[in-house]
């Protein structure tokens, strides 16, 4: 399910290269234009030439969406490697390296904060941490965020960017799909409002659980969104895939997302939706 790793082999853009590098000038992976980092930052990490939406970290997303400070919860929850999994590397070492690289403890950050006049619970996944994959920690943190939104009667927003479920936790990762979906069913039953935002990439078990269960589903332009990985589909059907397959625009056309909104406009759109739905008081 986690196809972020496979993708590097197929000659497509390597995820490593797509993550924003340091330095003053950054090359756009889509149009190859060199962009000034400060300007890119001001422009919501959208290429000024071709509108390519760079993959950004969770902290960048908080800056884009939340007014001022926010309160992070369950920050230090971390994997205890339940299967004692090892391939070329120990899974526990992989997690440690990801922590050293990102400062995060796992692939989702959950906070409570304000968007305009609305208090919200916001979860942002981070692709830089083991491909944004969902293991027990991601599942548990998102479940607790849903519970918090339900108990405090706050709207819930989840920003997904994930290669799918985390192989190194086996069936326990798979069960996080059921767990988060069950929590959302409970939230839904009590009238909770949930906006799901799909960014590049949202695939596998993440798509096939909470990401597709929003009352409203918003996708970023050009985001890869799907269930099966491109290579697996190609291998199975023995054909090339149509252009734009599994991109946000394709999903809009097929009826699986409500709207595609550029990152510069997304906060405005969310405020409008919150004004419309979150008007209980």
């Amino acid at each position: 399910m986690v196809d972020w790793f496979r993708r590097t082999k197929t000659g497509l853009l390597s995820t490593e290269k797509k993550v924003i590098p340091d330095g003053l000038w950054i090359k756009c992976p889509k149009c190859s234009e060199y962009l000034y980092k400060r300007e890119l930052e001001r422009n919501f990490w959208i290429c000024t030439q071709c509108q390519y939406h760079f993959r950004i970290s969770s902290s960048n997303y908080f800056t884009i969406l939340i007014d001022g400070d926010y309160e992070e919860f369950n920050q230090k929850m971390k994997s205890n490697d339940p299967l004692k999994f090892k391939d070329s590397k120990r899974y526990s070492d992989r997690v440690k390296e990801a922590h050293a690289k990102t400062g995060l403890y796992d692939a989702v950050v959950t906070v409570e904060g304000d968007i305009d006049k609305h208090r919200v619970v916001l979860c942002v996944m981070d692709f830089n941490f083991v491909g944004g994959s969902m293991g027990s920690v991601v599942g548990e943190k998102i479940s607790r965020a849903i519970d918090r939104a339900r108990e405090k009667k706050l709207p819930l927003i989840i920003v997904s960017s994930s290669g799918g479920a985390r192989m190194q936790e086996g069936v326990l990762s798979l069960m996080q799909m059921a767990k988060t979906s069950a929590k959302l069913a409970q939230f839904h039953g009590e009238g909770g409002f949930f906006i799901s935002i799909l960014t590049d990439p949202t695939t596998g078990g993440t798509t096939a659980s909470f990401a597709m269960l929003g009352d409203i589903i918003i996708a970023e332009p050009g985001a890869l969104i799907g269930f099966a990985g491109e290579r697996v589909i190609k291998q199975t059907i023995g054909k090339d895939l149509p252009e734009g397959f599994q991109r946000a625009e394709f999903l809009l056309e097929k009826g699986f997302v409500d709207m595609i909104i550029g990152r510069s406009e997304i906060k405005k759109t969310i405020i409008k939706l919150l004004d419309f739905f979150n008007d209980k008081n």
């Binding site: 985390r166 979906s181 078990g205």
Partner: protein, 319 residues
């Protein structure tokens, strides 16, 4: 005659052939070989027991895929006095890789859903090798909604190598269909009993696999990805699936230990494919016992317990 003899089963097959030959010899020539045959029969019993009780994870995966293993419709045939099949998702098509219908098992009227594989090429083309499209999940959901409306328990049989990875499947929302089922199954106001009878690959299995109790047969596997898929990603070599099966801990016993399975049903003489009738009988008695228990729980409580059960799954550390 078995369709497939796995490497570790060969000594059993050889011994069986030897016994058959002796029986034949005894019959044709009128030679009294009763003692010899009896000795070999005892030897065979010991060998069978020894073989199937000492399997590694990869060998169990191979058994889970054995073409002589009973499939969903075989179990229905062996367990139910009645089965009425329904078809179609009312939106696009009828997916033959998932069956749905109404069955009678002893005193219980139940809604049954399950993956269905084929036994030969022709059947497998018809069943798409047990790999569903979105329509399969939506048909299953339609059946489950009927169960809820008419207060009938649901039994779901899990046996798939995964949801189908194809263009049409993606176009018609494979991810949405699975997500919707997880959501709806977690709050369905009627008992859901899951039986893992073969392979449980990823979201394609879980898409009809959320329930109150999870019964697993001994020689089954269930994980987030197939051992081959895991091996081709982590080791860049699908041939290392045996290592991946060990690392991911994919067997029924593992599931039970990880808290994902509630009950492990051992297979008679160690293998369902050699003993389909006895296996069905054992599974049926486990199903009936669980149905009796679940049907006594009020719907509100059932849903509360189900969500609580999934809330506990996983393993993490906190400061």
């Amino acid at each position: 005659m078995a369709k497939l003899t796995l490497e570790f089963e060969k000594p059993i097959l050889e011994l069986e052939q030897k016994i058959d030959e002796m029986r034949e010899l005894s019959r044709v020539n009128g030679v009294d070989l009763i003692d010899e045959i009896q000795k070999l029969d005892e030897k065979l019993n010991k060998l069978v027991k020894k073989t199937y009780s000492n399997l590694n994870r990869w060998q169990r995966v191979q058994l889970a895929r054995h073409p002589d293993r009973p499939y969903t419709l075989d179990y229905l045939d062996k367990m139910c006095s009645e089965f009425i099949e329904i078809h179609g998702d009312r939106h696009f098509a009828d997916d033959k890789s998932i069956i749905a219908g109404f069955a009678t098992i002893e005193k219980h009227k139940v809604v049954v859903i399950g993956h269905q594989k084929g036994r030969n090429i022709k059947e497998n083309v018809y069943r798409n090798f047990g790999s569903p499209h979105p329509e399969g999940y939506r048909k299953a959901l339609r059946a489950m909604k009927l169960a809820e409306k008419f207060n009938k328990p649901v039994i779901s049989f899990i046996d798939t190598q995964g949801a189908y990875p194809g263009i049409g499947a993606e176009e018609r929302g494979q991810a949405e269909a699975i997500a919707r089922n997880l959501f709806e199954m977690s709050r369905l106001r009627t008992p859901i009993l899951i039986c893992v009878i073969g392979e449980g690959a990823s979201g394609g299995a879980l898409g009809i696999g959320v329930g109150d109790r999870n019964i697993v047969l001994e020689n089954t596997w269930y994980s987030v990805i197939s051992p081959e898929g895991c091996a081709s990603i982590l080791y860049r070599d699908a041939g290392k699936a045996n290592i991946a099966a060990e690392s991911m801990k994919v067997t029924a016993q593992d599931l039970y230990e990880l808290g994902v399975a509630d009950e492990l049903v051992t297979e008679p003489d160690g293998s369902a494919h050699r003993n389909p009738d006895a296996t069905a009988k054992k599974l049926k008695s486990a199903i009936l016992r669980n149905l009796d228990e679940l049907c006594a729980i009020p719907a509100d409580e059932l849903v509360r317990l189900r969500i609580e059960k999934y809330s506990k799954m996983g393993s993490w550390d906190e400061e």
